[in-house]
């Protein structure tokens, strides 16, 4: 997996959170819409925006997908484990599993 793809598996649920650091612009929208507060901005000195989203609490994710739906940048995905290999994600058109 590319170092720009962050993967977090919930211990409680069949949920995987994927973040593409390349695409995330640190706009804060996903953090704002996440009720269980699973996400937070972290410093990203390698990006001009200076921050990207990261997962701070994958286990409480409710699979509501609001972060994914409201993300303007295609930077975050909420998938079931079995979907991970089927859905394309990342820098190029590769599935997350391939990266």
């Amino acid at each position: 997996m590319s170092e720009n793809i962050l993967r977090y598996d919930s211990k409680k649920k069949d949920v995987v959170i994927l973040i593409d650091r390349n695409l995330c612009k640190g706009c804060d929208i996903c953090i704002k819409v996440c009720k269980p507060e699973c996400l937070a901005l972290v410093d990203a000195p390698d990006k001009w925006e200076g921050a990207v989203v990261d997962v701070v609490n994958a286990d409480d994710c409710t699979f509501c997908k609001l972060c994914e739906l409201q993300c303007p940048d295609f930077g975050i995905r909420i998938l079931r484990k079995d979907e991970v290999g089927k859905i394309q994600f990342g820098d190029t058109k590769k599935t997350a599993a391939e990266q």
């Binding site: 706009c27 929208i29 739906l69 303007p72 394309q88 190029t92």
Partner: protein, 280 residues
Amino acid sequence: MPKAAVDYLYYLRAEKLPHMWCPGCGIGIVVKSMIGAIDSLGWDKNDIAVISGIGCTSRAPGYMDMNTLHTTHGRALSFATGVKMAAPDKHIIVISGDGDATAIGGNHFIHACRRNIDITLIINNNNIYGMTGGQFSPTTPYGARAATTPHGNIDPAFDLVELAKGAGATYVARGAVDNARMMEKYFKDGMEHHGFSVIEILSNCHTQYGRRNKMADAITMIDWISDQVVSNKKAAKMSPEELEGKIITGEMYHNTELAEYTDEYAKLIERVQAKAALKA
């Protein structure tokens, strides 16, 4: 049973990402919802043309892995009309900004509505000309600041829903970027509708509009939109006083009775050819 995950990148030219829009820009959310709608309709991306004019919003087709056409300022609907007339069985989506669709493209807009041609028009209404540097548009609210209204806007604004309805569009809806799920539903219904459909999306340009009106980041501006919008179901139970300053969202008009333009033209061809065959 949750809906199967949408493979967004399948519909995108992923190699073009990240896109050009500012962090938190509503256009990205609109594009995502468009893809969600297309995916749920099961349309083949080879059968879809996405057409746009000029402006920030009009850069959207470049990212979509379909037949895409980035045209001139305001005139996307005219190109789209040509594409649709030449390929009536294909799906044509036009994505436009407020300035593009209703100022320089205002005439094309009302006439596309009048023809009731089967094209879906999505207007990302962020109340401003973003790309050219934040000038006021026909939807900029009264009193708002823009690069060309440094002393406050005195231009009355268009109500795009009323405009579309009055001009003859047969599916009209209004959504907002704070609710991507609803937006996707309106897009899907509009795309599925056989006739001219207009979906206005209240959107955020915090960079050009927000910055000049004390809402310099995406969250503040999206919250400002959320505070104003009321769904039409809720609005029905509210008094005029309560509705003061509110913007109603929802499906605003849906008429499946009126004839669609390319259908009418196909009938015309049939009629003319039958007559010619009789003569021969």
